[in-house]
Amino acid sequence: MSRASAKIERDKFWERNRKSGGYLLKKTAASGLYKIARAILLFGLCFLIIQPLLNKISISFMEEQDLYDATIISIPRNFTTANYKLTNELLEYWVCLKNTVFVALLVSVIQVAACTLVGYGFARYKFPLKNFWFACVMISILVPPQTISSSLYLHFSFFDVFGIFKAITGKTLNLQNSMAPYIMMCMGCMGLKSGLYIYLIRQFFRNIPKELEEAAYVDGCGKLKTFIRIMLPDAKPILTSCFLFAYVWQWTDSYYARLFLGRVKLLPKALTGLTGRLSDWYASLHGVGVMPSSAYEQAMIATGLLMTIIPLLIIYLVAQKGFVESLSQSGIKM
């Protein structure tokens, strides 16, 4: 049955091809070739992107001798999970993980909440100096955080609001080792990449038709209520995207973490200090002055890196739609 229908199909194809003077055949062949070329290209690029990751996974399961063996390329001969156990100890993984989950969540929620308010204000209201303030948002995107970090650092080490603390307690407040400075910055939309979120959220709110808002006003909805009941539910996709980005970027950020969260044990910070701890551990085992080989060090870094990003990969796999599809499908006009 199916064979017969396939034959009919084929006959029809050649019939149509003959009628079109060979055009159809050429066209079909060209599109087939194009599809194959595209598949090869995409496969290659995808491989290029995940190859380092795969490489790290294979290295992380190798014993030290495997690293020097030129005949071993990707599959370890002496399969071991000792690297993970050791990295777990050196990083204080579970403590760091707990802290990182908590800090990233707190920071990103505050950040997105503040940016939503600001983005909405920029998108839906007219007020004097609006362009000036929006230019300030652009400046906050453009200024490298390093430009002001020295000033901020000193600022928070000797924190004071118009000399109030000094008047009361006789000295300024040192906020350097608490989370307060960073939380305050996030509330003020000055956290990691806050400007970008403001921009994205504003672009989204700008595209919502004005009639929706007007209908709410006519029905007696106040300004705040309109925002919460009408606008926010609409903005769910963009808010999810921003939240996920904020979360992930906060997770891997070591810059702000080092600057403001000196005392809190966080994964990215632990990761940068991993080599130091490894050589300490090595010295305590083999005597002072004995250093781990650089290959072994790199294997440990690869393991630590994997352990840091595995939670992120899980989040990404679960919430992939939230990351990408909502951003690309909503068709934000820039």
């Binding site: 000193l154 080092r258 068709g331």
Partner: protein
């Protein structure tokens, strides 16, 4: 009783608008505007940190002089990172546009491919970039491979073949530089791909249909429809790529500024370097966006 003066709707809206952006205004003034001015002052002075605070002594442009004339590294790093940007940003743009076009088509497994392409958005952030780049083990492996086999990679072989002519060898050099750094580009292009993709999504299919009926080939409709429609996004992406490239954590100038500040405690000098760098970045962005914004087509 005096009748209360009623506010007009515009005034009410203005107040509401200001209330909404209040967090930003406070944050901007307290955590960006003030520190910015402070760091300008620092860059012109010698900062000494004591137990009860810090003091600044005005020393004119000495810090800047030190950065540009005395410091052995700063000039070199600055020119290196700007020239690196000059070829990496166009390459990133072309790559991300091309990939966005591919990902916008319909094929099997598109979701998986998209997921992989956006993976770098997560993986090339923060601490991971820094660790990725001084991966000496990979470097060592590469050297080993290079020694054991005569031809280390396709590009070098090709390069040696094409180089013999002498003509245009410099151009080929650039091309091969880009080819060799295709991994870096693919890693850096995640956000740009998303932006282009979201732009391509807004181009209505009816436009292509109309063009096709009028006898437009795919090539023509690409240049006459797709390209103008997303041209505003090209501007956005150029600016984003420049910023992203110049202020990412593994940028050498950034590393130097950080190093001068954090272990060496030379706040004045590091502020001076940061400001000269920032002004360079601003100048580049201003020139580029001025040139591009004249070509951009806005469809309303």
């Amino acid at each position: 009783m005096k009748p209360k003066k009623k506010k007009t709707l515009a005034q009410k809206n203005a107040i509401a608008g200001y209330l909404f952006i209040l967090p930003f205004i406070i944050g901007f003034i307290a955590f960006l505007g003030y520190p910015l001015i402070e760091s300008i002052r620092m860059s012109f002075s010698e900062v000494t940190v004591g137990s009860g605070g810090f003091t600044m002594r005005f020393i004119g442009i000495n810090n800047y002089k030190k950065a540009f004339t005395l410091d052995p590294e700063f000039n070199r790093l600055l020119t290196e990172s700007i020239s690196g940007m000059a070829y990496k940003v166009p390459a990133t743009l072309v790559f991300s546009f091309f990939v966005a076009l591919l990902l916008n088509q319909d094929f099997k497994g598109r979701g998986v491919v998209r997921a992989i392409f956006f993976l770098p958005v997560i993986l090339s952030s923060g601490v991971i970039v820094g660790l990725e780049y001084n991966n000496t083990l990979l470097q060592g492996m590469e050297d080993l491979v290079r020694e054991s086999s005569n031809n280390s990679s396709i590009t070098t072989t090709l390069q040696s073949i094409l180089d013999t002519g002498g003509m245009g060898s410099k151009f080929f050099g650039y091309v091969f530089d880009i080819l060799d750094s295709v991994y870096d580009i693919a890693i850096a292009a995640g956000i740009q791909i998303i932006i282009f993709l979201s732009g391509l999504q807004t181009v209505s299919a009816s436009m292509y249909e109309a063009a096709k009926i009028e006898g437009c080939t795919a090539w023509e409709s690409f240049w006459k429809i797709t390209f103008p429609m997303v041209s505003s996004l090209i501007l956005v992406n150029v600016v984003y790529s420049i910023i992203d490239f110049l202020i990412r954590t593994d940028n050498e100038v950034m590393e130097k500024i950080n190093k001068t500040m954090s272990p060496q405690m030379d706040y004045g000098f590091s502020s001076a370097m940061a400001w000269s760098y920032f002004l360079c970045v601003m100048a580049i962005i201003a020139v580029v966006s001025f040139i591009l914004s004249r070509k951009v087509y806005y469809y309303e």
